[in-house]
């Protein structure tokens, strides 16, 4: 279901969010759901933008953090880190939602119908949210595998 990205071993990807540029149009959410499911709906989006006040916006998406809280929290070992992405093994997942709760970045949702975790997979290396953002508020950067604070 998820696509892996060929990565150099020392670097890992991060979708960077520019608060100043984001206009809260949520085109990223729609393009994400459309890219993965050919349907439009924010419940199917792996990226979420929330507005808190006139100029404060927050972006929630998998950060590929070092601690991989989701993997540790999964009671059935359905999650693994491969090629820069968290992958879900549907045959092992019991849809308990522990990974959703464990992610401090609110980067995981359960699919409303299949109840399987949906997590950013970088669209195979060319993220749709970045391509479609009319304000250039999202960008893909590469960080060292080990980062303090993530």
């Amino acid at each position: 279901m998820t696509m892996s990205v060929v990565l150099s071993q020392e670097k890992k990807p991060l979708i960077r969010f520019d608060l100043k540029k984001c206009a809260y149009c949520k085109i990223c959410e729609l393009s994400c759901s459309h890219r993965h499911y050919k349907k439009f709906g924010d419940a199917l989006s792996r990226i979420t933008i929330i507005r808190k006040g006139p100029t404060m916006l927050k972006c929630f998406i998998c950060t590929r953090c070092d601690k991989r809280f989701c993997i540790g929290a999964c009671p059935t070992k359905a999650l693994s880190y491969k090629g820069g992405n968290i992958e879900v093994d549907p045959s092992l997942c019991n849809s308990c939602g522990d990974c959703v709760e464990a992610c401090p970045f609110h980067g995981i949702k359960l699919h409303p119908e299949t109840k399987l975790p949906i997590i950013c997979d970088l669209c195979g290396g060319d993220p749709s949210c970045i391509k479609e953002c009319p304000k250039g508020a999202l960008s893909l950067i590469w960080l060292p595998e080990s980062r303090k604070g993530y």
């Binding site: 759901s33 439009f40 709906g41 979420t48 006139p54 304000k135």
Partner: protein, 620 residues
Amino acid sequence: MKYSGYKGKILRVNLTTRKFSTVEVTDEFARKYLGGNGFAARHLFDLVDPKIDAFDASNVVAMMTGPFQGINIPTAGKYYMATKSPLTNGYFDSVSGGHIGAQIKYAGYDGILITGKADRPSYIFIDDGKVEIRLAEKFWGRLTGETQELVKEEIGDPNLCVSAIGPAGENLVRYACVITEYRAAGRGGVGAVLGSKKVKAIAVRGSGTNEVSDPEAFDAWMKWYKEEAKKVPALATGLPTYGTPALVASIGKMLGAMGSYNHKTEFFENWENISGERLKKEFWDKDTACPACPIACSKVFSAKSGKWKGAISEGPEYETIYSLGSMCGIDDLGAIIKGDSLCDEWGMDTVSYGVTIAFMMEAYEKGLITKENTGGLEFNFGNDDVMVSHIEKTAKREGIGNLIAEGSLRIARTVGGGSERFAIQVKGLEIPGHSARALRGMALGYSTATRGGSHHDPRPTGEYAGVSDRKAVEGKASWVIGTQQMTTIGDSLVQCHFLERLLGFTLTQKYVDMINPVTGFGYTFQELVDVAERILDLERAFNVRTGIRRKDDTLPRRFLEEPIPEGPSQGMYTDEPTLNRMLDEFYALKGWDPGTGIPTRQKLVRIGLEDVADRLEQGL
């Protein structure tokens, strides 16, 4: 359903009985009425006794979507509200940006019809198929921003979409609005009708989706849009850079057609102080957008210095710079930003409030309102303290605020002295910042619009662009009918009219080409024109049953008798004989009776509204 973009049902909420039900949206109904405006016009015509007071429990508030909500088509991140207006007493609709439109779709509905009256302050929470009427006593009296946050907290979802009314709606200010995020379903008092029903807020979330009928054709249209929009300066640079305040220079300075000092003139000498360029340079914080809109014409502005330092608002839009600014003789953008944010927070329409204050200022100047009425305050033009401080007083109906809350026409009828002449309204609705004197089409357009003084029934843009000669009388009726058809289709798709510069100021084949890939209707151009006429005539029929006739299709006396006194449009106005000539032509083209302004049976039958013709004949 056979067609895409629809969920096939509308939710009905009865607040008195606390019962919910659904009304089916059939393929035939969707094709005949398209969405938003069309769905609401049909249901309100069927459900609302037009003779009731707008605050009667049996009035209905419609909150609607069209086929475009929840997909990524540009400028459709909106929702549509309609009711019988407490300001005009007629059919009234107001469209606003906000993510709640998409959420209604995702929750599985094409719209909501709210009737009855709750016994205690309440809010409606729609969570996919689950609907609740929850107590809102602890939110009653709160501002719109706080209310949205409190509802999100109570439900425990920071991403929840909430539309709320402010104290102005609770206290039945006749032009109280509904606020979603920072945008307003501003005009006509939909917020007051919700207030009369004791509905403080509507919260919606849905986990569903919306899809298009023909993905390939839709993708091709999206590609076409992206290429073509780059070639339209307003969409490519003007609106993204400055937003609507860019119009201050083009309308205010170049055309001299921006009402000032309650339309005693239309050339504001200090236009530069309130210009879009100045706003951008000195007040801009960030761009914001309605959902799914790449234009992002909305801006957050704040006052960084001066008397109103610290004032912050998403906006003001051009209309608010006109109403709170030039109309009141105020050239301090800080005060306008402050007023804009207070109107949003207390929950009232900036246009009607500002134009009403301007009316009060002229009445004060003429001695019709005195310090005795104003509590000792000097109510003079240019007084920004008065403009700002009376927002709260109006929302609370405190002191003279109780009068201001009634709108300019009702105040004129109270204070008398011939002041109705300079009450800048049509059918009770205050006129926005597009001149009925400098634009011939707006003279006829405002006169005949369902809502009265609204620039989203007829559109001024084509006359600004010179596509229709703003001075011409010949052919103006057909032009105005075309713009009204275009806005009605836009309001049914629940899509912003800013695409008019790309798709056409009047209905064109380009609208058909946008609609068909999404819905699968396979409309012809004539079919779409008929949809527009059907909706417009339903609205007119609603208003006819409230007593509206040809005599009501007119303008304030000031506009019919006093030419613009100065500036680039000096001398322009439309006198009564000219207006009548245009009206004759308008009614003839519409198929409305020339004496009464009532749609004829022949016309109604032609567009598939025989039952409406029957109702009109029975109910007059």
